[in-house]
Subunit: 323 residues, 2 copies
DNA sequence: ACCCGTCATGTTGACGGTAACATGGCGGAG
DNA sequence: CTCCGCCATGTTACCGTCAACATGACGGGT
């Protein structure tokens, strides 16, 4: 910056002012400075800037350690939305145990990130994070805002869309393949499933424990009970795995068993049969998340949070229960 | 840090030495400093550290703008490998036009990243990037090392695995659905496909242009020529879309048409029929990429590059050509 | 007893910006 | 004509850390 100033015949402070779009710079001076910057290929050092201002234009993102569709899509959505605001994500992964989370936090906060996005797959983490720092913290993918700053797709509504759809097709024997036990979204889908059964006085068959993977879905599909006609899977890959297993067992989808997934991954439309699923709009999640963070960073009170509404996509994997 | 020093009754420099694991600190002093750090919840400011040292322990990653399986998997692999070395990825997306790439570079280099990973989907970008900076630059997902620092799965070998497999099953009428035109990997798969046809004296049917998406695969599947028995798709989602389309047209897979994908996404095993595909080991790509960067950052001459070898996963979507 | 090297630690000055305050020139009002 | 105030720009200090050099205590060789 010193060199630029010398070349333009001004002080380094004037260069700084030009760079920061300060008012009250003579156009001619600004031109000279800009020319010098161009000629020298100067790029301002954000470390110094961050040191002086305490802001970094970086958003820390704590992701789960496994690249599933939801977190990944959300990350991309956040990246795109943040980019427009001049921010970039600094990514780190962490599981939800305190040590891993602590390391992630140390790293990100040490870099003076301006805000934090936590893909809070576990209910406890958010409070822990908020206690550690005073930068704005936003939780994403929790399934329910719960008072704190959060953006999420409404998991309860999504689950009910799936189950109501199956119920209205006449199904009465339901089974559920869960996501990873303990993760917020998996828990919400499971709880809602159980509540739904009770509300309609339906029989509780064993819960099939999954882990989001197509492999787990396949194994669970092999274990689906006789007589089940409606299978609600906590995500699409597990649904695909389960359908594969059911067909290996000679059960046809949807003639014998109707299957619903969750997420609406791009391949769902071309699964065989086309997968009925609950669409989650992660792009919208990313947009709202960044909007809230920008508000928080600039000290504005963030607008009211409302969960992102999912919708049901009906395809060929569900049909009326056999007469 | 000043406060820590005061509390421990030492100078700030001693604190710095403890933090940086300097030799020649009396154990008792070190203990006192560490205690003070703990009590004050002190965290060292990386902006200042970066300013003073010129290093940031951050690796800049330039990703393509669309979250496809390959780049995403590689990102996760890099994140995990880099974490072990104490580095984290700073992500930005860019298309391959010079302006977008320039902005991404300005951002990352301004943050004094210690190294750069470019998911160089286009052959020109790497040279452009390298000309801009003197931090180590590594290109990933190019398909071919081409002399510069690069880590990639061998696309030519992978494509040949797929085509040899089909050929050995007796297929002689091939068609290909491409990835996004111009991207390195798509181009390499396409070029290799065309070369393969020529080597075996096979007829050139129209190339079906895709864009990696299952949707494009579906549309291309509708356009597959009559009499084609072997369809090579540039990735798995397109293969799934294409199979869906073929079956809608009354063509059975693999009885009428054998289909091979590329990537081996987790769902491929549970597609219907199970998708024969070329497995790419992105974890290995990430590991090698980080290993090379760590070498380059610490000034060691990086070890010899060798492309990561893909392998063929045979499932049910391919079979012998009908008699 | 003296000198000198070594070890543990302290002191000072960058690193590259920004913020707050200081300065000088210029135009308009009295 | 003089004074004041504002506008454009310059000066100085500081952000938190590391690197280089400075210091002082201690101990061993002569």
């Amino acid at each position: 910056m010193h060199d630029v100033a010398a070349r333009a015949g001004v002080s380094h402070q004037t260069v700084s002012r030009v760079l920061n779009d300060f008012a009250g710079i003579r156009p001619e001076t600004r031109e000279r400075v800009l020319a010098a910057i161009r000629e020298l290929g100067y790029r301002r050092n954000m470390a110094a800037r961050a040191l002086a201002t305490g802001r970094s234009e970086v958003i820390g993102v704590i992701m789960p350690e496994v690249p599933h569709f939801g977190p990944t899509s959300t990350l991309y959505a956040i990246e795109h939305a943040a980019k427009k605001a001049g921010f970039k994500p600094l990514i780190t992964t962490a599981s939800w145990d305190p040590e891993s989370m602590g390391q992630a936090l140390d790293f990100l906060l040490g870099r003076s990130v301006d805000a934090l996005v936590v893909m809070a797959q576990h209910p406890d983490v958010l409070a822990a994070v908020e206690a550690t720092t005073d930068v704005p913290v936003l939780s994403v993918l929790t399934g329910s805002p719960r008072g704190t700053r959060a953006v999420a797709v409404d998991q309860i509504a999504g689950t009910r869309l799936a189950l109501d759809h199956l119920y209205s097709l006449g199904h009465r024997r339901f089974q559920h393949i869960t996501g990873i036990a303990g993760l917020t979204e998996a828990q919400l889908r499971r709880d809602t499933f159980l509540a739904f059964l009770d509300e309609h006085g339906l029989e509780h068959l064993p819960i099939l424990e999954g882990d989001w993977s197509a492999d787990a879905g396949y194994r669970a599909g092999l274990a689906v009970d006789e007589g089940v006609t409606a299978l609600f899977c906590a995500n699409d890959p597990m649904a695909m795995g389960a359908i594969h297993a059911l067909e290996e067992r000679g059960l046809r989808v949807p003639a014998d068993v109707s299957v619903v997934g969750f997420d609406d991954v791009p391949e769902a439309a071309y699964a065989h049969p086309g997968l009925t699923t609950v669409h989650q709009d992660f792009t919208e999640v990313g947009l709202r998340a960044v909007a809230m963070l920008m508000d928080a960073i600039s000290g504005r009170e963030p607008a009211e949070v409302s969960p992102v509404e999912p919708w049901l996509v009906e395809r060929q994997s569900t049909g009326p229960v056999r007469a």
